[in-house]
């Protein structure tokens, strides 16, 4: 965004209309986004058809179309809000150049396409008022569009705000139209803003334009993405079909406007709900049919093919039949049968089927009433994969074969989409009237940074593959390990034999890596969670270093109750192993090695290190995760390194009651980590680099205004003279760009350590992409890093290299991972608490990686 637009944005924030917006989310921009296509058909059509409410016959008429316009304007696409946050301008050392230098250049193809605009292109925003005032959005649109002055112009209109690519002759234009009833309506079209192509508002208008274009390519929007039902991929043996489609976005990257597309699939079952019910009735018989039916269907997502909308089945109304009537919006009564005949020319075959009930999400915030839709089972198709299908290996493989595209396959898909857009007459016309030109696919130059050496106790090893160095590690001594002298093993009677052989194995693999395992006390108990818990309560005393539980099944109650007790009530590191896992005799050695390494970490050991040239550097990972049971709770995890070698960690976790994924307790955590550092190193760290994961769309500003100050205040309070320098980096595993490497005629995933810091980055941010993972199948997703605060002033090259180094330090996996290790640790910790314990772990465990 240019400085001018920013200034304007700030100015607008003070206007009264912006106050409405600010209420939704702290955004400085009064973006008007809820524009529909000019025809305004898709959404309102849907209201008329399926949103049939039992409760509010009259109220229904004010469904979508009647939404007051103020509310529509208040709707903002969240990711767009982030774009108005300019962090780079405050970072002096990267204002001119944020590119690194080390590594071997590599040419990469992206999934981004150039969108060319004339140099002086501008978007004109108009405000339209009607006299007398008209409620119906459809009527408003029809009246305005009937004017010749507008008919051949490129336009987008939501009933209040009109966007044009060409300026009208006058600033205020008065128009008048006549309704069918003969009323004359005056319309005043007033120019309110002129927007440059880089403005976030334009991005949203571009998205709307592409929505129209994809529709012309016979693609339908489901959720956020666009799918093509006409070219399904069938998997008949599993009664599945996949709709190919794309996730798209239009955005302003470094210097250009780019259109991004990523392949996506919608999984559908070739089975209607009615067929499913009939099938079930044959299987279960009549007696408990309704119950089983409710049990199996409720909660599933269905799609109605007549309008390609998805719904969740919230209830089944057995008392309503298709021959019953309901009240339409205009007050007339009609039967479901007639309605579907008239509206969609669909004849219902089964007149005795019940109706499915789906609660509709209220678009308004006031939640004044419950709105429900009645759906006919015959017309609803099940989507997604049911739970049992996910564990069906063959089914999942069949799906993966289709959906996991190779780099080349992906490229072919994209090329075809680009081709379709360029060839389709309507699509091209739409683009041309707006003055857009769909260009070629963009290439960028990335750099492959040198691979890292792994430091183990007695030597430095250069792993054969940075993705997995477990083989290189097998006989190497790890950095440090406490010997395990007093520990408990709790197992069921049945698992005694496997436990014995496993313990032998554990001792055998432990010795070469430097982890001494003594004989445990083995407690045999009955196979139920209570017996396990009792045994733990009875035999754990303060001298026990670790408790190992050989669980008879992966039923949650075992794991959850053991972890909850040993994490909070009686803090002792614990290791749970499934008996089933130990039955795999052939793999026992590698299983034992992995568990031995995990146990070492849980006892506070260190496995390996990488060379970090920066002395006195503390790295921190923060992740936020929603509690699985309690909706209003989020779990915040904080993991900080406490030695200069970055091998020992201080981990804390807290539950907080909030709806936003923003952390409150960072000051306490940071102060705690600094104190811990102080006791270990007799001084404060010189630099602190914080990696923040788990940031949702639109939260960037909150992060800068709320979380960074917390960290800063604790850092500045830590020392009176020279306080540590702080940097904060937002880590995102999901991002639009993908990078593919051209090798000869084919395409490959880029090699490990590929960094992209140009072309696909944003001008207003200090950001880069890093590939720190390998994929044996499918296409890699790069990880996106955005430095939002940086006192350290490290060269971009050093920042990138450091981030890459940190991806090597996750002790649960002997290889590179997709995010820096502290982030993954924080994630693992929050996941454990959010899923299993729902309680803060005891502080006594904070010095070890007890959650691995």
């Amino acid at each position: 965004m240019s400085g001018r637009a920013r200034a304007r944005a700030r100015g607008m924030a003070l206007s009264p209309s912006a106050a409405e917006v600010g209420r939704v989310q702290a955004s400085p921009l009064p973006l008007s986004v809820a524009l529909s296509d000019s025809e305004a058909s898709s959404s309102s059509d849907h209201v008329g058809t399926s949103r049939i409410s039992q409760k509010c016959e009259g109220g229904l008429s004010s469904g979508d179309a009647g939404c007051t316009f103020k509310e529509r304007v208040g709707k903002i696409r969240r990711e767009m809000m982030d774009l108005s946050v300019c962090t780079r301008e405050k970072l002096a050392h990267v204002r001119d150049c944020k590119r690194g230098s080390s590594g071997i250049p590599v040419k990469l193809v992206t999934n981004l396409f150039n969108l060319d605009l004339p140099q002086d292109w501008q978007l004109y925003q108009y405000h339209v008022t009607y006299s007398p005032d008209i409620e119906s959005r459809r009527l408003r649109i029809a009246l305005l569009y009937s004017h010749t002055e507008l008919s051949n112009k490129a336009k987008a209109f939501d009933g209040v705000i009109l966007f044009l690519s060409q300026k009208l002759d006058e600033k205020v234009v008065e128009l008048s139209s006549e309704t069918r009833r003969g009323e004359t309506v005056k319309m005043t079209v007033t120019l309110t803003r002129e927007l440059p192509a880089s403005s976030p508002v334009c991005m949203q208008v571009f998205s709307i334009i592409f929505k129209k274009i994809l529709k012309k390519l016979s693609m339908y929007q489901i959720g956020r993405n666009f799918y093509k039902p006409s070219e399904p991929v069938e998997i008949p043996q599993h009664k599945l079909s996949l709709w190919p489609g794309f996730a798209i976005s239009v955005s302003h990257f470094e210097s250009k406007l780019l259109f991004g597309a990523d392949v996506s699939y919608k999984i559908l079952r070739n089975e209607t709900v009615l067929e499913f019910m009939t099938d079930l009735r044959h299987k279960t018989g009549m007696s408990c049919f309704t119950q089983t039916c409710e049990k199996q269907l409720i909660g599933l997502i269905v799609i109605t093919r007549y309008n390609n909308k998805t719904y969740r089945i919230d209830d089944i109304d057995w008392s309503v039949k298709p021959t019953h009537t309901f009240q339409k919006r205009d007050g007339t009564e009609i039967t479901y049968v007639d309605y579907y005949k008239q509206q969609y020319d669909i004849t219902l075959s089964d007149l005795n089927q019940p109706v499915l009930v789906s609660l509709l999400k209220s678009k308004r915030n006031d939640d004044a009433e419950v709105r429900m839709a009645h759906l006919i089972p015959e017309l609803c198709f099940l989507t997604g994969l049911p739970g049992e299908a996910r564990s069906d290996f063959r089914l999942m493989k069949a799906v993966a074969e289709e959906t996991r595209l190779s780099p080349l396959g992906r490229q072919q898909r994209l090329a075809r989409l680009a081709d379709d857009i360029q060839r389709n007459k309507d699509a091209r016309f739409e683009l041309e009237t707006w003055g857009l030109h769909f260009g070629c696919q963009m290439s960028v130059t990335g750099r492959v940074v040198p691979s890292e050496n792994i430091i183990i106790q007695d030597h430095i090893c250069q792993p054969v593959s940075a993705a997995d160095w477990s083989k290189d590690m097998r006989t190497c001594k790890i950095l440090s390990a406490q010997s395990l002298n007093k520990w408990l093993v709790i197992c069921s009677n049945r698992a005694e034999r496997v436990t014995e052989s496993f313990l032998n194995c554990l001792r055998r693999v432990g010795r070469p890596i430097g982890f001494n395992v003594n004989h445990p006390k083995i407690i045999k108990v009955q196979e139920n969670p209570a017996a396990f818990l009792h045994a733990i309560q009875k035999y754990v005393d303060p001298e026990v270093q670790l408790v190992m539980c050989i669980l008879p099944s992966n039923q949650n109650s075992y794991y959850d109750s053991i972890k909850k007790y040993l994490l909070s009530d009686c803090p002792v590191p614990s290791q749970c192993v499934l008996a089933q896992t130990l039955n795999k005799q052939g793999m026992l050695m590698s299983i034992a090695t992995k568990i031995a390494l995990q146990m070492t970490c849980k006892l506070g050991g260190e496995l390996w290190a990488v060379e970090i040239p920066l002395k006195s550097l503390m790295v921190v990972g923060i992740d936020v995760c929603k509690d699985a049971f309690n909706q209003g709770m989020v779990v915040v995890g904080f993991v900080a390194s406490i030695n200069p070698r970055i091998t020992r960690w201080f981990s804390r976790c807290m539950l907080q009651r909030t709806t936003a994924d923003v952390a409150d307790c960072l000051k306490v955590f940071m102060t705690g980590a600094l104190n811990r550092w102080y006791t270990h190193n007799q001084g404060l760290p010189g630099r602190i680099i914080v990696y923040r994961d788990g940031v949702g769309d639109g939260q960037l500003r909150t992060l800068i205004e709320y979380e960074v100050p917390q960290l800063l205040s604790s850092v500045t309070e830590a020392s009176s003279n020279t306080s540590p320098k702080l940097s904060v980096i937002v880590v995102r595993k999901r991002c639009m760009p993908r990078f593919l490497m051209e090798t000869g005629r084919t395409l490959q995933n880029p090699p490990l350590g590929t960094i992209v810091d140009s072309g696909a980055t944003r001008p207003e941010w200090y950001d880069f992409y890093l590939i720190s993972r390998v994929a044996c199948r499918g296409t890699l997703n790069p990880t996106y890093y955005n430095v939002i605060y940086d006192d350290n002033g490290l060269k971009p090259d050093h920042m990138q290299r450091l981030t890459f180094k940190l991806c090597h330090l996750y002790y649960n996996w002997p290889g590179l991972i997709s995010v820096p290790a502290p982030c993954q640790y924080a994630h693992k910790l929050t996941f454990l608490v959010a899923q299993s314990t729902h309680k803060e772990p005891s502080l006594e465990l904070a010095n070890s990686l007890f959650y691995l």
Partner: protein
Amino acid sequence: MEKPRPLRHTWKGAAHEKIPELRRRGLPVAHVADAIPYCSADWALLREEEKKKYAEMAREWRAAQGKNSGPSEKQKPVSTPLRSPGMLVPKQNVSPLDMSGLSLKSDQAVLGGIFYFLNIFSHGELPPHCEQRFLPCEIGCVKYSLQEGIMADFHSFINPGEIPRGFRFHCQAASDSSHKIPISNFESGHDQAMVLQNLYRFIHPNPGNWPPVYCKSDDRARVNWCLKHMEKSSEIRQDLELLTVEDLVVGIYQQKFLKEPSKTWVRSFLDVAMWDYSSNTRCKWHEENDIVLCALAVCKKIAYCISNSLATLFGIQLTEAHVPLQDYEASNSVTPKMVVLDAGRYQLRVQSPGFSHFSSSNQEQRSNTPTGDSPSGVKTSGQNSSVRGRGITRLLESISNSSSNIHKFCNCETSLSPYMSQKDGSKSFSSLS
């Protein structure tokens, strides 16, 4: 640094000294009160002479304040119950003798006072715009006093009534993630009016004042709503006042220590997992289906927590009505369901030079925390015991040991360290945790 204030108790002195270290550990410690929960564990680990040092400090404080210090026996710290529930520290310092010295007249009122703990479960919570916010499905209530423990309990399933159209999924999901009571076709559900009548008969059988009824603060809104809702369907009108357990705990604590505990401490005090699977805690249905969340169990566990930590402060000997002792007594002698083996018998050809069996140690020795960060006051030196050999020998020894003093519920201590000193006569249940 805040201005040091007069310290009345010796352990306060210890806590005061601890504050800087706790702050360094990243704890939100502002006052001595905040520090106590963290320090009390450490306090219990202190040796007698170290404690004397703090007692000395406290005396000096009081002398400086011009107050009579009194005999030092009276000042014996009563700190152990404040530690986090999981710490395995036998209470060496609390003996009935001390308690008698401390007990005040009003203690008797607290001890004899009868409280009711009540909880009602719902099939989820419906959004605010719905008329019906909750669907009561299970109720549990216990009658409790510090002196007697749980005196009676009441439990019933409730027929939640018709599920509002469209919310079946919501309710099902809420039930599945918590108490797992079926949302429909559940035969055990009783009529709401009847359940309420029975509840009131349970709480208030005779005319006169209503006894205090408590529930956890998080549940209060739900329980209140459900009571009102059930009153509507029956003709009964009783304005039952629902108080929060947290306030009750604070009250009892204040009674004993004349000061307020921190909120965090109270919360963690009530939220423990150790009784989750205790016998005779859950209702029959939840027990049979092995589901932890049960309305009756929630109430009983409140009683257990209060008994285990607070009742012992008043010198009450815990009975089966206070905490589920039977689970632990039964396993005092080794039952067939739990067999303990010393894995030394699996010992193979390989023997590392540093190998040794676990050292059984004296009771006063506390091991290092596994991470190597030893809190101050922890003794790590320990003489290695000469216990060797097959597990069965030690097993027998431990049995003979533990059967010799049944009233000491320190099973883990006895069985793990057969040569433990026998001086501990504590009636507390804490060492089980």
